[in-house]
Assembly symmetry: C2
Homo-oligomer: 229 residues x 2
DNA sequence: TCAAAAGTGTTGAACATACACCCATGT
DNA sequence: ACATGGGTGTATGTTCAACACTTTTGA
């Protein structure tokens, strides 16, 4: 290689977002060790010697959520490497963004014992390291991606009603959308969602069609704007 | 820290894109040393011990383009860390995307002596490491960003005509746009571009107004679609 | 006078917003 | 019966695509 190349530790940090009780929530842990002991932080861990980055992210994701296999959306968010960001030394953090349906609270006994879902608004000023910046970038990314990709389904369970999907947009963007126009837009966009042929009354009122995320690629996704309509 | 944490080398790789002679081009170097000696690669280098990631990217950018201070757009693209991607050992590459106006070819004498602008279509199958993947991701990113951000100006010189700006979209997307509708859309969007008060005839024909990139943030950027209009 | 490029006007189609209205269920 | 949410119809306004047409230069 070259002379005296600096060697650094590489970590993955996870921003796992979900919508619960009409609030955008992130999974955070309570740090059991120094530094920042007792403070909240994003889940994460170090990348092993022969491990790919996404592989490390999926491993941590499984450990933190208690799920053997994570079904949902996972994407790389960005890499944070300011020299002073970790008091233990030079640590490069590759952040990943995961979007999950409303998972049960992680159970005790696993590594995730100290993990909990917290509304993102309650996290301001409480996170260790530069994790507040990472979280903020993650929320920006999620908001932006809803606008021009059919990603909202990643926040939903296997099958969902149009109203449940709409609530995802409303919570993430913090706006109210017209239920009727939203319904039309989503169902009339080829490949966005596909009906599953069943109905549910779990939202109350008249039974609603159940849908799942569209299987085929959406050729020209509609621009979902956080407007009023 | 912890026991036996793997330490890795961290590099930055640069995808520097520009539009020259109606072609989308990237700056590539010819590797002078092993591995992949003689082959083309993206410019890049290792991150120093006390250096931030973007700082390293800007340093390399200056060295490769021969510019003291790079004026243009620079953003983090993604991080590539597959265990086998560098035959010398575990190297994590943080890729950055730079968009530049049509710069002069880097001069000999600098580190950039071996650097040259190459149309991206000519690069298929010629790049070292996983740089073809990185380049492909960079082009995808640039294409997507033109659609929903006012970023095209980063490809232009200080002042430019609407037709020159349009040619950026046409080259990056590989489509023809209607000059008249494009003109209307761009000039009627508040903050997208601002007139500089001068005219030029460098494109031939009737003199065109010169513009510069809008100073204020564009509140609601228009969706520029690679359609026909 | 002609070619070339800038820029404006106009028109029909597509789409978005707002909202009236009906449907199907639980209580 | 009535409240609740699902879903359709429709009017109005805005934006978009297409293109006719005028303006201003260089050759």
């Amino acid at each position: 290689m070259d002379v005296a190349l600096p060697k650094m530790t590489v970590a993955v940090d996870l921003v796992i977002l979900t919508v619960r009780q009409d609030l955008l929530c992130a999974l955070v842990i309570n740090r059991a060790i120094e530094p920042f002991k007792g403070q909240r932080a994003l889940p994460g861990g170090f990348v092993l010697d022969d491990e790919d980055l996404e592989e490390a992210a999926r491993r941590e994701l499984g450990e933190e959520t208690g799920l053997v296999e994570f079904r949902g959306h996972l994407e790389q968010l960005g890499t944070y490497g300011a020299p002073g960001r970790d008091p233990r030394g030079r640590v490069i953090a590759v952040a990943y963004l995961a979007l999950a349906p409303d998972l049960p609270t992680p159970e005790a006994g696993s590594d995730a014992a100290a993990a909990e879902w917290v509304p993102v608004e309650s996290l301001a000023g409480t996170l260790a390291f530069d994790h507040e910046q990472i979280l903020s970038d993650a929320i920006d990314r999620a908001r932006a991606k809803l606008e021009y990709t059919p990603l909202a389904g990643a926040f939903c369970t296997d099958t969902f009603t149009i109203a449940e999907l709409r609530r995802v947009y409303e919570v993430v963007w913090g706006v109210a959308l017209d239920p009727r126009n939203f319904h039309r837009k989503v169902t009339s966009t080829e490949g966005f969602v596909e009906p599953v042929g069943e109905r549910t009354t779990r939202d109350g009122g008249r039974p609603a069609q159940l849908y799942r995320v569209g299987g085929a690629e959406v050729l020209q996704p509609p621009v979902m704007r956080p407007g009023v309509g």
